[in-house]
Point group: C2
Chain length 125, copies 2
């Protein structure tokens, strides 16, 4: 059994983040003996690892909450993953388009020596 500080350290999480997940109902309530200090077992550590990994895949906390309750409904989990994949792919192509625009813009800046005029600012007008 660990206190919140030890748990946070071992999982590389902020203490406040763990309390926040508790408030949001993402992890089960830890036992709170006389002192009022939270005591954590491996079960909750596992829930926190799950949350951390799912977050790295781009799931929101709301989605993670339902992922955790879906448990083994693979079809539903797969659907959510595919939706996430579609969003990621869209973001990638948006950013690639953006990258091109900014590259072009900054290039016009290099060739400019006029101190009273900036082509980037001009492009935004």
């Amino acid at each position: 059994m660990k206190t919140i500080g030890k748990l946070a350290q071992s999982l590389n999480l902020n203490v406040e983040t763990i309390r926040f997940y508790e408030r949001e109902g993402l992890i089960t309530q830890p036992t709170k003996p006389i002192s009022g200090y939270r005591q954590y077992d491996e079960t909750i550590a596992g829930q926190l690892r799950f949350i951390t990994k799912a977050k790295m895949l781009g799931f929101t906390l709301k989605e993670i909450k339902s992922l955790m309750s879906m448990d083994n409904d693979c079809a539903q989990v797969e659907l959510l993953s595919r939706q996430k994949l579609a969003i990621i792919r869209e973001k990638i192509s948006d950013l690639q388009r953006l990258e091109k625009v900014i590259v072009d813009m900054t290039n016009t800046c290099i060739q400019n020596d006029d101190p009273t005029y900036c082509p980037i600012i001009d492009a935004l007008k």
Copy 2:
């Protein structure tokens, strides 16, 4: 001169968003005659177009505010743009890595017929 509603409509912005930009000091204060209704001229419309375009390039409102005051210091504008470009490129490669992970994961799901087990959920544990 337009009222806020007409301006919002012509720029495809939410009325509240315009008031929000005003509170944040991103646009100049419109005149407010007797009625108290804001009256907008082309200058402010131009500022709003500038903000919209800069936002599309991924600049934050804070950055846009300084972009607007940099005016024609091209070197400074170029620096900010290059920083933004670096961030965009990092985001792209992060998302591409993520895409691969999710593709692999969802593929393990397709080949699974066991209703008591989900390989995606398992990978997150």
